[in-house]
Homo-oligomer: 250 residues x 2
DNA sequence: CTTTCGCTCATGATATATCAGAAGCTCACC
DNA sequence: GGTGAGCTTCTGATATATCATGAGCGAAAG
């Protein structure tokens, strides 16, 4: 038996096993998270642990763990013995999120301004240019939602690139978390955002590469604040109800 | 020990009474968290879910939930089917934590600089003065650890006051989380920190009340960075091992 | 004496079962 | 017709049971 188990053991490398065989809870977490981020689960949708368990072919204990994690991250909210749903953010929540993003990303701007190599400066400048081109295209062309989605994703990756170049793993993780939050909340409203100033990202890149960390900090703050303003406006029309309605059937 | 806990086991009906009772998981979370923060559980200590369940008179499912939450917050770390222990931070972890604190608290400094009323300015100035006095006293007087602990707690409250005056709930929560992290990691090393510059906190308070948000930002960054430097030094001598040793007996 | 292999046992992960609370529906009652 | 007490059925919370895994110890081989 011991021999058999050794034989069936996956490639001695050990680390490889981790990526292949994840825990059920982790699988559930990633699945649900992705569905929320992709909009398959809309803001306010009810998440029944039992139904999810049935759908994903597991008991609802891993589901519970996944939902707890999502709740800690702010993507869902749950009330004891009542239910769990995709979180409906308050206006204040969104403002707060932008305040935190501004703080973290301005810090990242300072750090990467200090630490970037010349190769990396080029990379940032190039990505910024491409991003500006994409936005210009999205303003003039058709309203293809898949295209807008990919632009949005690309924009997020641009911010993550800057965070990465700060060479501070913890900061990167923190920024990623806030980015995900905002991305989820604003995905639909962001698709019809008004057009951005010309060279919006290229100017930011220039400040980041200027070598003056104060300038980098301030440029990043402007960049983020601009997003906040345009979002708060579109949010005014949304008028979300916060009542817990369980819509029994389905 | 285990015997005693069995003898004190409650009757079946002894579960939490209807009103005003928290969930078991939350109770477990707070209990364990407090024990870590108070140093009853040292860095690296093993946390057995079953033993904790026996000690706290509950099944180990609430314990599991509590530990998951603590893990998400970075206070403990666990490896699948091996064990859970109080987290041993890397040097990099600590540096990252300070980078994030600097970002968040500098943001708080800006905001409270803009928003404080004159009453609140007085309050900040007063607390800063008292804090400076306490540190002066702790430098000259005996090394009573309880006294040092209370100074440390007071210092934390000072920072939380500033965060609160920023009037941004999300930012307050984020700062609180990072504060707790650092407090846990550094509690013991912080007790024998070298003395601070004179008027360390009063100068900070003056900048915060100056009405110039840039000055406030920079003053806060200096304040936090100073802590980082003194901590990295004392950490060099600590040399923590990251091996997972489970010490079967006990 | 050192090294290696295999057994044992404690661990966290998961499944199943049961409990208490709350939302919504039904229908008698005003 | 409107209303509310009570039942039904969902929810999450918790308890108990079982499983695969890996650490650590000891015996056997060098």
């Amino acid at each position: 038996m011991a021999v058999a188990s050794k034989l069936t053991k996956r490639t001695r490398t050990g680390r490889a096993a981790a990526s292949g065989a994840e825990s059920l809870a982790r699988k559930a977490y990633e699945q649900i998270r992705d569905e929320i981020l992709q909009g398959k689960l809309a803001v306010g949708d009810i998440l029944s642990r039992r139904r999810l368990a049935a759908d994903l072919n597991m008991s609802f204990l891993p589901i519970t763990e996944a939902l707890q994690r999502l709740e800690a991250e702010g993507l869902v909210e749950s009330r004891p013995r009542i239910g769990t749903r995709v979180r409906i953010p308050t206006k204040q929540d969104i403002i707060d999120s932008f305040v935190i993003r501004e703080a973290l990303e301005a810090q990242a701007a300072r750090l990467c301004c200090d630490k970037m190599t010349s190769t990396e400066r080029d990379q940032v400048a190039r990505n910024a240019k491409r991003l500006d081109d994409l936005y210009k295209a999205s303003a003039s062309e058709s309203e293809d939602s898949r295209f807008l989605f990919s632009v949005q994703t690309y924009h997020m990756q641009f911010h993550m690139l800057i965070a990465e170049l700060a060479r501070c793993p913890g900061l990167l993780r923190a920024i990623e978390k806030e980015q995900v939050l905002v991305f989820n909340w604003l995905y639909d409203t962001a698709t019809h955002r008004n057009s951005l100033p010309v060279n919006f990202h290229s100017d930011l890149a220039k400040a980041l590469c200027s070598g003056d960390r104060m300038k980098a900090d301030e440029a990043m703050r402007k960049h983020i604040s601009y997003g906040l303003n345009s979002v708060v406006e579109s949010l005014g029309t949304l008028e979300l109800s916060k009542r817990w309605r369980l819509t029994r059937g389905r």
